[in-house]
């Protein structure tokens, strides 16, 4: 395993310390979360995630958090940094000088332990939107691939950039108030597949959009798009689907199945 300690070449002058306040929750002993503060030395190039790794490696091995890629691709290290949902790996400790930094698990999700939340609810929603291409007719390998022009790809490309980090859910008060709301991330991915020229599954996905807890559960707070680390703009996907839902409704009035 590579070193997760601050670089040894850092000069004393470039090292400062910052207080990191963590929300802690141990399901075995705590009935509710508590706070714990750590003093962490940091350099200008250290991310919040590296700060947490420093704590785990040298101060308190029991501190629990999710992480993997360290480069804003895996979507594992989403947490509340001073109240704002962010990826710990792409946020620098220096930006919180002089501190303290308050770190909490993503809002609106049940805490499993310390900074780890239960994403099972989201995963079930993700599965429900059928996040895969449903072609109009199956082609055999011999028939070749499904072709697409760059223009057709543009229609869905930004929505396909979602990394399931759940920052948008932590930003969405509607999800916080009503956990049945399908939510920004899943609806953005639903839109991604509906907009794909190779996909013919729109009719299967529209009941989710049309539901009370689908696109109509959104009041366009817009904070989801603000915190999205991949510029997916989930608020756009959700609100464009209000138009799609209205069209779908009138279409079925005119042409009942």
């Amino acid at each position: 395993m590579e070193s997760r300690e601050p670089r040894t070449d850092m000069s004393a002058s470039s090292t400062r310390t910052i207080i990191i306040e963590c929300l802690r929750f141990d399901p075995a002993s705590d009935s509710e979360p508590r706070e714990q503060a750590y003093r962490v030395p940091f350099t200008d190039d250290m991310s919040v995630l590296e700060g947490l790794q420093y704590i785990k490696d040298t101060i308190d091995g029991s501190l629990t958090f999710r992480w993997s890629c360290r480069m804003a691709i895996c979507g594992s290290c989403g947490m509340m940094l001073n109240g704002r949902p962010a990826l710990a790996c792409e946020t620098f400790l220096r930006d919180f000088r002089p501190g303290p930094v308050r770190i909490e698990p993503l809002s609106h999700f049940p805490i499993i332990r310390d900074l780890v939340i239960d994403q099972a609810d989201f995963l079930a929603k993700l599965e429900s939107i059928k996040p895969y291409l449903i072609p109009a007719e199956d082609k055999s390998v011999a028939d070749g691939t499904y072709l697409q022009t760059p223009g057709q790809m543009d229609d869905y490309y930004q929505f396909s950039q979602c990394i399931n980090c759940l920052l948008c859910y932590a930003a969405c008060p509607q999800y916080g108030l009503n956990r049945a709301f399908t939510g920004p991330g899943a609806l953005a991915l639903l839109h991604r597949y509906n907009e794909d020229s190779r996909d013919a599954g729109t009719a299967e996905r529209m009941p989710i959009v049309n539901a009370e807890d689908g696109a109509w559960g959104c009041t366009l707070v817009g904070y989801c798009s603000e915190v999205c680390p991949k510029a997916v703009d989930p608020a756009r996907a959700v609100n464009v689907n209000k138009i799609n839902s209205a069209k779908d409704y009138f279409l079925h009035l005119l042409m009942p199945k």
Binding site: F25, I111, A124, G176, L177, R179, V240
Partner: protein, 144 residues
């Protein structure tokens, strides 16, 4: 655990934080709430206007009394506040407008969000100026 929501493992002990006064958590939420609250003032403005219409039907003295009430400092204060809030509401409306539209492409180029917002704001300004000029013109024509 909220009823109906999925859990990683059945019976697993988790802690759900109460959502509390979420609208106070950050300035983004606070401005959202201001946007939502503008509806109260816009509704009040519409009710006052409808009230005036009713007074108009009741005859000249009733309508003049309604107009006289509008000249009171509190009524002017309310209308200025309502104007300020409706202006803010209009701005937020145009700001989110691109998010409510499918992508618009002209000659193979996608219209940027900034362009859509600018077009909306420009349209609102032009319409407001035209309405203002029309009112001004009718007042000038009515003057002896």
């Amino acid at each position: 655990m909220t009823a109906g929501s999925k859990q990683a493992a059945p019976g697993m002990k988790t802690y759900v934080r109460p959502i509390g006064s979420w609208w106070l958590r950050n300035s983004f939420y606070r401005w959202y709430m201001v946007r939502e609250l503008t509806c109260v003032f816009i509704t009040a403005y519409a009710v006052i206007l409808l009230w005036g219409l009713m007074r108009l039907v009741q005859g000249r003295p009733a309508f003049d009394a309604w107009r006289e009430n509008l000249a009171s400092p509190s009524a002017i204060g309310f209308h200025l506040l309502a104007l300020l809030l409706v202006t803010y509401h209009a701005w937020t409306w145009f700001k989110v407008m691109p998010k409510t539209l499918p992508f618009i492409s002209i000659a193979g180029h996608r219209l940027s969000d900034r362009t859509i917002i600018a077009l909306g704001v420009a349209g609102a300004i032009v319409a407001s100026v035209l309405v203002f000029l029309a009112i001004l013109l009718s007042i000038l024509q009515a003057a002896p």
